[in-house]
């Protein structure tokens, strides 16, 4: 039961974090809010794996952890850059 309580609490923090998407002044803030969801959503999945007694969710969490930052990397490399400057100047 405590697992489900933790999951509910984490979902609340995720929903709060989405306020940053609405208000975030720069585009990076919005992207980072989506990344916040990556880590917190992962935690929710892990905790639900124990709460709902479904060990398959750990595999879903593993997949999530691999792919969660792909959107951020695409954002940095394809969307938010200056033409002509290198990545590391």
């Amino acid at each position: 039961m405590i697992h489900v309580a933790v999951a509910l609490f984490l979902l609340l923090t995720v929903v709060l974090g989405m306020i940053r998407i609405v208000y975030g002044p720069t585009v990076a803030d919005r992207m980072m809010a989506a990344q916040l969801f990556g880590t917190s959503g992962l935690a929710i999945l892990l905790v639900l794996a124990w709460g709902m007694d479904m060990p398959e969710l750990i595999d879903i969490a593993l997949t999530f952890s691999l792919l969660a930052t792909l959107a951020t990397m695409t954002f940095v490399r394809r969307v938010w850059y200056e033409e002509g400057k290198s990545d590391d100047s």
Binding site: L36, D87, D88
Partner: protein
């Protein structure tokens, strides 16, 4: 409940304030760099505590391996993306917030 399970629950409970503080930091910090701090550091420590707690609550060693792998992957990927975003923000001319 056995001792490891109790310690596991304590670890999970210890991880929760970190998630909360990560989100509050995301909402209240003044600029992108400080928000990156809140996001990556606080959330990853919270996740670490959570995973330690969950590891202590299971008997299956394969699950423990998967959990530790998850944590290492999240650490690596989120620190890499945090670095990239911060670097790019500096490149675009966003100056860190200073207290005027």
């Amino acid at each position: 409940m056995t001792i490891p399970e109790i310690i596991g629950l304590a670890c999970i409970a210890a991880g929760i304030p970190f998630f909360l503080s990560g989100t509050i930091g995301m909402l209240r910090f003044p600029d992108i760099f400080t928000r990156l701090h809140a996001l990556t550091k606080a959330d990853n420590v919270g996740l670490g505590f959570l995973i330690i707690g969950l590891c202590l609550q299971t008997d299956d060693w394969f699950i423990v391996i998967k959990l530790v792998l998850i944590w290492v992957l999240v650490l690596t990927a989120s620190s890499a993306s945090c670095h990239l975003v911060a670097r790019r923000a500096l490149q675009k001319g966003i100056r860190p917030w200073t207290r005027e």
